[in-house]
């Protein structure tokens, strides 16, 4: 389970060592894409805790969401509407929702483990 975290750290390190600069005018699109990616990742973790995870869904969701978010932001710029703000709000809500869900799952898991340990302890004592 630590491998995804390791992947994230390696990605951050690589990204900071090899500085990939994109043109400044695309910075907003990349930021929205990052939000979409983060949403997908958290959604993946949420699915893992709910035992509903599917790798293909994650992969396709990640790429489609990031590209769609960046594309929407670009389209908004073209037609003169700040559509990237809509993406920021939407993905922001989803990110907080996913984090909340993960937190609940973690708490439930923790409680479940504690309950199991307590039941094992009772048997030992008896």
């Amino acid at each position: 389970m630590w491998l995804p975290l390791l992947g994230l750290i390696v990605g951050l390190l690589l990204g900071s060592i090899f500085t990939f600069n994109i043109p400044i005018e695309y910075a907003n699109y990349l930021a929205v894409a990052v939000l979409a990616g983060l949403d997908s990742l958290l959604g993946g973790w949420n699915a893992i805790f709910k035992r509903d995870f599917d790798g293909m869904t994650l992969i396709t969701g990640f790429f489609v969401n990031t590209l769609l978010a960046a594309g929407l932001a670009a389209l908004g710029d073209m037609i003169g509407i700040d559509l990237y703000l809509a993406a920021v709000v939407a993905f922001g809500i989803r990110i907080f929702h996913n984090i909340s869900s993960i937190r609940h799952e973690l708490i439930a898991l923790n409680r479940k483990r504690k309950g199991k340990r307590q039941s094992h302890g009772g048997i030992d004592q008896s």
């Binding site: 389970m1 491998l3 995804p4 975290l5 390791l6 992947g7 994230l8 750290i9 390696v10 990605g11 951050l12 390190l13 690589l14 990204g15 900071s16 500085t19 990939f20 600069n21 994109i22 400044i24 695309y26 910075a27 990349l30 930021a31 894409a33 990052v34 990616g37 983060l38 997908s40 990742l41 993946g44 973790w45 893992i48 995870f53 599917d54 790798g55 293909m56 994650l58 992969i59 990640f62 990031t66």
Partner: protein, 261 residues
């Protein structure tokens, strides 16, 4: 078998998750770098704009200083021009005064006109009646008659001309045979002496002077007329100096020809 498959799927899922995490990590850092670059570029542009504005402000300051200096120059020139105009005006009035003193301008004013002529009638009678005692010079106007007459009136004279020839301080009245030379010009009778001055004083001086009485005694036709507006022309001759030299080095004498009226 089912466990093995489930394990394989789980490993694949973790691999996908790790891959996505890795990509997201790179994306996050790229986004951060891009934002930093954008901020740095904006700051650089801002600095450039600030530098440009400061340069422009310095240029504006220099131009303002230049404008002020030019204004001062214009003010100084205007002042200098006004001073020159004042000096020119003074010199003009001085030159005008000197022209009047040198009799180089036309003058007008009240005065008297004295007319003298040879006593032709008396001469003819004397020649006829007493040819032995007849002397022609007793019946003509001589240069000294004019000279004495003018001198007798000089104290009341401001401008004087004889037959239109202006008399100056350098004028001469001489005789050459039967004609009189004034300012080297030959005159013939009748002689018309125009004098501007106090009419009363002129008439008084004329009628009381010996020359006038002598002329009347000799029967020379002499008469005078008062005129309220008498015009006397300017002296048209030249002032020639051959021997005199000015001792004051500051005075440019003789003056250049173009300065003479």
């Amino acid at each position: 078998m089912a466990d093995k498959k489930r394990k394989s799927i789980k490993q694949r899922n973790i691999l996908f998750l790790s891959l996505i995490s890795f990509i997201l990590g790179v994306m996050i850092m790229t986004s951060i770098h891009t934002n930093h670059s954008a901020i740095a570029a904006t700051e650089s542009k801002t600095r450039e704009v600030v530098d440009y504005i400061e340069t422009l402000e310095a240029e504006v300051g220099a131009l303002e200083a230049e404008i002020n200096a030019t204004r001062e120059q214009i003010k100084a020139l205007e002042s200098s021009q006004a001073q020159e105009e004042t000096q020119l005006s003074y010199l003009n009035s001085l030159a005008g005064g000197l022209s009047v003193r040198a009799r180089l301008t036309d003058m007008e004013g009240p005065g008297i006109v004295i007319t003298l002529d040879d006593n032709a009638v008396g001469a003819a009678l004397a020649q006829k009646n007493n040819p032995s005692t007849y002397r022609a010079e007793n019946y003509i106007v001589h240069d000294k008659d004019l000279l004495y007459l003018i001198r007798a009136l000089s104290h009341a004279t401001e401008a004087c001309s004889i037959n239109g020839l202006r008399l100056t301080d350098a004028s001469s009245i001489r005789c050459a045979g039967t004609i009189i030379l004034i300012n080297s010009a030959r005159l013939a009778p009748p002689y018309k002496i125009s004098i501007i001055g106090d009419q009363k004083e002129l008439v008084s001086a004329l009628t009381s002077c010996g020359t006038y009485l002598s002329l009347v005694y000799r029967g020379i036709p002499v008469e005078y007329v008062k005129q309220d507006k008498l015009i006397i022309k300017a002296y048209a001759g030249a002032y020639s100096t051959n021997y005199v030299q000015v001792t004051d080095d500051r005075i440019n004498f003789p003056p250049p020809d173009d300065l003479l009226p």
